[in-house]
């Protein structure tokens, strides 16, 4: 009795998924069983859930042991490379932080000096503007302009980043810098 139980336990592990829960999408696609595209999508999205393999989507390449040994020279080398990378990132970060600290120091000194010299200009410099507010001059200007130009004029909001500021890219644009830009009159 016990021996047969032990034998059953030691037998090949049987999947514990009940029959109703087994997904059949992972079966190889049959050419004439409906739209092959849908079958392929289902196979990609729903890998088989019968747990009889190490990974449902397949495991690594067959010669993974030799390949990994070819990629990584040794454990010590790998750790050294890792530490060198972290050190490099740390140096870059420290440089960036030092530059920001210097810039902030400059700004602080300038504001302290302005406060010492002229309190009206200092308080004006510290004023926080509401970006939604349009000054009287701007409202007058907008009434005179045609609709599209008024929208272009209104789009540049004081205190917000302009839309025309571009982020850096891998390669420059084909036309290069726009030297023929026509000015829009904006009150200061």
């Amino acid at each position: 009795m016990a021996s047969s139980l032990l034998a059953w336990c030691r037998a090949r592990p049987v999947s514990l998924t009940p029959a109703a829960h087994v997904r059949h999408y992972a079966k190889p696609a049959d050419a004439n069983a409906g739209d092959t595209r849908l079958i392929l999508i289902r196979r990609a999205l729903y890998p088989g859930n019968i747990r009889n393999r190490a990974s449902p989507t397949g495991t690594w390449r067959p010669d993974v042991r030799q390949t990994i040994q070819r990629a990584i020279p040794s454990v010590q080398a790998h750790h050294t490379i890792e530490r060198a990378w972290l050190l490099h990132r740390r140096l870059v970060r420290k440089r960036r932080e030092a530059e920001l600290a210097r810039k902030f120091e400059c700004m602080k000194n300038a504001m302290d000096e302005l406060k010492r010299v002229d309190s009206r200009l200092y308080s004006e410099a510290n004023k926080v503007e509401d970006p939604r507010a349009r000054s009287k001059v701007e409202m007058e200007k907008m009434k005179q302009l045609p609709a599209l130009e008024a929208r272009a004029f209104d789009a540049r909001v004081r205190g917000l980043f302009p839309r025309e500021m571009r982020i850096p890219a891998e390669t420059p644009s084909k036309n290069g810098w726009n030297y023929e830009w026509k000015p829009i009159e904006r009150p200061l």
């Binding site: 490099h88 120091e105 300038a110 205190g159 025309e164 850096p168 810098w177 026509k182 200061l188």
Partner: protein, 287 residues
């Protein structure tokens, strides 16, 4: 601090002898009062932000290649039947590119050669050529180094795409010498400093530039040290700098501007006066 204390002592002693006023001077040292109200100037540091991403260093490239090889050794099988239609040209091209990438990663002698017959190889090559013909387009990527970099054209806004470049102008100073500095001027009455900066920029460089003065607050100041002479005390001149960005257009210099240049921080150091440089260098971006 000791110099201030001594000056206060002298002052109090003088007061005592002249006015015989028993009022004691304040014990705390006062800051030295300027001879008259300082003259304020507004200046603009106009920056063209980098157009290009920074290039990876040799170490970074080597590290990324190392990490890619590890991923290539470890990754799970690629679901080729999901991404490519079986037997299509695209799949053939992908397979041949993948074989090339494996050779590059592990060396040409590592992988065991697939038994591709010469006919199969020729067929694959023909398929790739056909694909290249179909997909041929004139969209070439522009090189990261612009011709104005080689030509050392300091007026060009395409130069040094990876760096921050700043506008400096050359004008005639009071003593007749030509000096390089950032565009600056005095605010008129009732004008705020950042408005004065914008106006001065237009006055020096024309309005053909899409500029944006970032904030109302200055990012730095320059105060040249006044030579201590016994002649009439000159008021100190303080220049406040405002950060600006240029997005389009070009400088159209006025008559009194002899020359202008779009230069990096290191190039500014070689042109500008030493004292000015010391006052300005911490406001500029290193890269």
């Amino acid at each position: 601090m000791s110099r201030l204390a001594r000056r206060c002592e002298r002052l109090s002693r003088n007061l005592a002898t002249v006015a015989s006023d028993p009022l004691p001077s304040t014990s705390s040292p006062r800051p030295p009062r300027p001879s008259s109200k300082p003259i304020l100037y507004s200046s603009v540091i106009l920056n063209r932000a980098p157009i290009l991403t920074p290039s990876p260093t040799t170490f970074e490239r080597a590290f990324y290649a190392y990490q890619q090889r590890i991923r290539r050794a470890l990754h799970n099988p690629f679901p080729s039947e999901f991404y490519f239609k079986q037997g299509s040209l695209l799949e053939a091209r992908f397979n041949s590119e993948e074989r090339f990438r494996e050779k590059v990663a592990w060396g040409p002698t590592y992988a065991k050669e697939e038994d591709l017959s010469p006919e199969a190889k020729a067929a694959e090559q023909a398929a790739m050529d056909q694909m290249a013909l179909q997909e041929k387009s004139d969209d070439k990527l522009m090189p990261r180094v612009h011709p104005s970099d080689e030509a050392r054209d300091y007026h060009s806004l395409d130069r040094k795409g990876r760096r921050n470049i700043y506008l400096i102008i050359q004008r005639a100073a009071e003593d007749g010498q030509l000096v390089w500095e950032f565009p600056q001027g005095q605010p008129v009455e009732d004008e705020l400093l950042h408005q004065a900066a914008q106006r001065e920029l237009y006055a020096h460089c024309g309005k053909n530039m899409d500029t944006w003065i970032v904030a109302r607050k200055p990012i730095g100041m320059y105060k040249p040290s006044i030579p201590t002479t016994t002649s009439t005390p000159t008021p100190e001149a303080i220049t406040f700098f405002f950060k600006g960005h240029i997005m389009a257009g070009q400088v159209n210099p006025e008559k009194f501007v002899k020359d202008f240049a779009w230069v990096t921080k290191q190039e500014i150091e070689t042109r500008v006066r030493r004292a000015y440089w010391e006052g300005v260098k911490d406001m500029l971006s290193d890269h």
